[in-house]
């Protein structure tokens, strides 16, 4: 087990390394260049000054060597300085990452629980009216753009009903958990609804498959009640593929987080990456993307471990 985890971590590190190069190159393809921005409104700037600055910042070097320098610094924990936030990248990123992870984890949990409930109910009578209703709900969830859902939530629950605050993560001067939770409700629901549809479909498909399987029939032949058959025998085996798919999807919450954070004006990683790309903040964009990749890789690793834990047929070695 430890060996497996170690190997997977090494693999993930390698993927991260390769991806860091890919992202580094892509970032270099964004418009403008850092020196331009530095001397943007300096009328006295000459091409010589620009060239000198390029040399100081190593921008005259070939891509690979620049990447090498960046990597060496990054390995030592120096991810550079954020142009937009005027602070070291890590100092800016860490709280945003934490905030986003909280949002993602809560929404993910909510989405998973809801999907379990709906998927199981739908799988009990495939093709029946309840299944049709749940399918419709699931597909509807898949079919609404997240930003639009967010706007509708604000209009209904903040503007019309005044139930929840429309933006921010806390009321200034009110540090209570309740206040904090109230600010999280709408982003969490929005992000969770966007995921629930797909998850519900997975759970439903897997449950139908599982309910058809021989061992479920065996359980019935033993005289187990329907609840036990469904929840203990069918669900446990249905869970195995579902958990993997869900965990693999965890990373995709970043995209949703980006949108909900923008709409609900919450400081988070997704929004930060977006802003940094728009604002030519190369260091922040690069590191942010890498962190997001890292979170995805870690969730994949957890998925593998969960897989091995759920399925005794798999030995992690």
């Amino acid at each position: 087990m430890a060996r497996f985890i170690l190997r997977r971590i090494l693999q993930a590190a390698f993927v991260l390394l390769v991806m860091s190069f890919v992202i580094y190159s892509l970032i270099g393809l964004m418009p403008g260049d850092p020196i331009d921005i530095m001397i943007a409104s300096n009328p006295g700037a000459t091409p010589e000054l620009a060239a000198a600055l390029r040399k100081i910042y190593g921008l005259d070097q070939p891509l690979l060597s620049r990447y090498g320098h960046w990597l060496w610094a990054a390995v030592q924990g120096d991810f550079g300085y954020s142009r937009l936030h005027s602070a070291p990248v890590l100092a800016v990123l860490a709280p945003a990452l934490w905030q986003t992870c909280k949002l993602m984890l809560i929404s993910f949990t909510a989405a998973v629980l809801l999907a379990f409930a709906l998927g199981i109910v739908a799988a009990l009578r495939p093709g029946g009216p309840v299944d049709a209703l749940i399918s419709l709900f699931a597909f509807a969830g898949i079919s609404v753009p997240v930003f639009w859902l967010a706007l509708m939530m604000i209009l209904v629950f903040a503007v019309d009903l005044h139930w929840f605050p429309a933006s921010g993560i806390a009321t200034v001067g009110d540090g209570s958990i309740r206040d904090y939770a109230r600010h999280m409700v709408m982003p969490v629901i929005t992000l969770a609804l966007a995921q629930t549809g797909g998850f519900t479909r997975f759970v439903r498909a897997s449950m139908i498959e599982s309910l058809r399987s021989d061992h479920v029939r065996t359980a019935r032949a033993k005289g187990a009640g329907e609840g036990r058959v469904v929840l203990v025998h069918a669900f446990r085996t249905a869970l195995i593929p579902v958990v993997t798919v869900m965990a693999l999807n965890f990373g995709s919450l970043f995209g949703g987080a980006l949108l909900t954070e923008t709409m609900f004006a919450q400081p988070g990683m997704g929004k930060m990456i977006y802003d940094s790309i728009l604002g030519n903040d190369y260091n922040l964009a690069l590191t942010g993307l890498l962190f997001a990749t890292l979170v995805t890789l870690l969730s994949n690793l957890l998925a593998d471990i969960a897989y091995g834990w759920l399925d005794p047929r798999i030995t992690l070695a």
């Binding site: 693999q11 993927v15 390769v18 991806m19 890919v22 992202i23 892509l26 970032i27 270099g28 393809l29 964004m30 418009p31 403008g32 049709a132 399918s135 419709l136 597909f139 509807a140 898949i142 079919s143 609404v144 753009p145 997240v146 930003f147 639009w148 706007l151 209009l155 693999l248 990373g251 995709s252 970043f254 995209g255 949703g256 980006l258 949108l259 997704g270 990456i273 977006y274 790309i277 728009l278 964009a285 942010g288 993307l289 997001a292 990749t293 979170v295 995805t296 890789l297 994949n300």
Partner: protein, 308 residues
Amino acid sequence: MSAAVLPRTDAALSVWRLRWRRFRRHRTGMAALAVLALLGIFALAAYPMQWFGGFDPDATDLLARFDPPSAAHWLGTDEAGRDELVRLMVGGQISLLVGLLATVFGGTLGLLIGIPAGYFGGRVDAVLMRFTDGMMSLPLLPLLIVLGAVDLTKLGFSPEFARSGAAGFWRIVVIIAIVDWTSIARIVRAATLAVKERDYVRAARASGAGAADVMLSHVLANVATPIIVSFTLTVGRVILFESVLSFLGFGVVPPTPSWGNMLNNAQELVTTAPALAVYPGLLIFFTVIAANFLGDGLQHAFDPRSER
């Protein structure tokens, strides 16, 4: 492939006829197909509207901003006095085309990676699939934004091309395609792995069939099933992507209409002119939901176990 001369077309119908019969019994799938067909007709109706009806999707009319539906403008006008209906039709062409093209390109990429990975296995598989995993682990939307922000001139395209409308359109198609092929590659790989172990493939190999022969004559035809299902879902997802990209400022650039940018554009007007948001919103919603139900129906039709 000289055997292709054999008259197989008439007979080839039979597998598909069987599936069609099964699909026809899938009520929501049929409804979804009908909805998608209607949406396609709706989008294409822009041409007769423009040629014969004299409707111009770009003609502005400052005196007719936010007009309610009338004989001249069946769905009313938008904030620049343009005919909403024709814009929705033209926008539909763009959105559906983006959806289809990105899916086809992404699907082709997925096929090119998934089939060899599944068929050859071993090291080829390991390399291709680690690559796929790596791509999958990249956060999709931020990556799309980076790709959307890429300066084409730095890739050697001329500034004229980089700034042209065509570049804007193809950029979206290409970036969605190169980001969204991974799931298809995995599906194709899994299907190929299954087909590869089928006895008919082994029989062909025993007769001396080479890898290319087997992949073309057996694997490709038999992985079609999961691919078609996955295609329908992808088309829906891509259309959603386009609207999200529009929201983030990287979608189809106005004034070329797409449902995505029309919806995004209508955001600020949502309280004053909600209809402008409702139309493209509903069209996107129906397209995506129909694509999903269609995929569901096809899955049912292609699954031999659903025969009863």
